[in-house]
Symmetry: C2
Subunit: 281 residues, 2 copies
């Protein structure tokens, strides 16, 4: 089985390597071609999308933003041979996923949306969580490939539902992380010992993955990115778009805070830096 991998950034590069290590023949393409070349000699590098797509049985994509997904799939769908399986792992728009799915079907191609959570660590360790939308029979065919990339693989339903599940996940994270930031802001304002406060939070019913992993970073204002604010803002914007018919005030507050930070040199910081949005002006 020949696999073509498009997008060899911090997530894509280690993911493509897992497939090569599992014995699959993997080709790769990246807009900045040098990043793909770092994967040589285990993975062959293609100069164009067309070149890789024409050889592939399965095409994986993990790129930046929905507009990148749209561009890349125009090329893929133009050149892919019938029955090629296309899998987008970018966190992108559920609506776009449905559109691409229809375009793919019209050309006898199979499309799955399969975004991930777990960050660069999960990509490196092969412990990602993967949410998949699209035709279930096609999903079952490529599960062995996904098992090379992630630990938890959940089939969510029709085309677009993988993307939607990821956005829902991000809404929950937004509540967790803003709640922690607001709590610690109040604690600091009132002169509480913040280390002790975080112990209390993580010791009971306020505990969360975010409190354990991002709480300590908030205390010392370590803004280094695990997960970039610019990417989280993209996800929150997509979630807002998907929930336009609903009134979700926490999501709105989160989008507002992260948008403000993004405009103030925080785009490349980690999501925990949202606590800076609460600093007194």
């Amino acid at each position: 089985m020949k696999i073509f991998w498009i997008g060899t950034g911090v997530m894509g590069a280690p993911m493509a390597k897992h497939l090569a290590n599992a014995g699959y023949e993997v080709f790769a393409y990246n807009r900045t071609i040098e990043k793909a070349k770092a994967l040589l000699p285990d993975i062959q590098v293609c100069q164009t999308i067309e070149e890789g797509v024409k050889k592939a049985d399965v095409v994986f994509t993990i790129v930046g933003y929905p507009q990148d997904v749209d561009e890349v799939y125009q090329e893929i769908i133009k050149h892919a041979k019938p029955n090629t399986i296309l899998i987008d792992m970018t966190t992108s728009s559920p609506v776009l996923a449905k559109i691409i799915n229809e375009k793919a079907q019209a050309k006898q191609l199979h499309f799955l949306d399969a975004p991930v959570t777990g960050g660069d660590i999960g990509a490196i360790n092969g412990t990602l969580s993967i949410m998949v939308g699209g035709d279930e029979k096609i999903y079952e065919k490529i599960v062995p490939l996904l098992r090379c990339l992630g630990k938890t693989i959940t089939y969510m339903g029709e085309a677009g539902s993988g993307m939607m599940a990821k956005l829902v996940n991000q809404v929950v994270i937004a509540g967790n992380i803003l709640g922690i930031a607001e709590g610690l802001t109040l604690a600091k304002d009132q002169g509480l010992n913040l280390e002790k406060m975080l112990q209390v939070i993580t010791g009971g019913s306020a505990n969360s993955w975010q409190a354990q992993n991002n709480g300590p970073k908030m205390l010392v204002r370590d803004d280094e990115p695990g997960f970039f604010i610019k990417h989280f803002l993209k996800d929150l914007n997509l979630a807002l778009e998907a929930s336009a018919a609903l009134d979700l005030p926490v999501l709105k507050a989160a989008q507002k805070a992260y948008e403000m930070l993004s405009k103030n040199d925080y785009a490349e910081k980690g999501t925990q830096a949202v606590i800076a949005a609460y600093d007194k002006k």
Copy 2:
């Protein structure tokens, strides 16, 4: 050492029993005296606060609202003998705790604010988390008593800081629980499988105590109280008051949602019922 326990509700009754079981001589008082009588014969019942306070070396209180705390402490401070240690375990106002502390000091009494988390289960099992504010030397004297009641005991600092830590904890919970409610509302609106969605949430970086414990209840609309909405609303109102100088939009959204529910027959439901606040009108 003689202990007087005021407030023998779902929390206070099992807590007082732990002290009696540990060998302390315990007297109890409750506004509805029948509730205290259920503790006979292990615990003696007093007909008035005055009667119990006059005999006691240590007085514990765990009553309903700040106004109840205020009333009860007027009686306690009037009748307590010098050097009595007074410990309020109600979740109440940090400002009121400071006021009571000053009034107590003026009468050579010692006051600690020591609210708890962990619910009725924690009270029954003696596994509460207890946050303590007040004089550290007094705190050290009564730590053995607190160890009968809770597993995690954290000294937070000066008078009022136990109460403040509890309020901060509730702000964090508010973010967690509203984030889950908003995520599941979006998921339902988009036709996702909610059981699978909750698996995704609890399987990664969106995971939290609230998602694990209240998430499943939200799915089936099990509104039975673990923690009453009316009590959580009290806590959120106290947190809002304490954070008047700050802009905490998630806390504000939570207070608004729970206040609306409280006015619509949800006061006696559990906090997870907040998902009903997102139902389309």
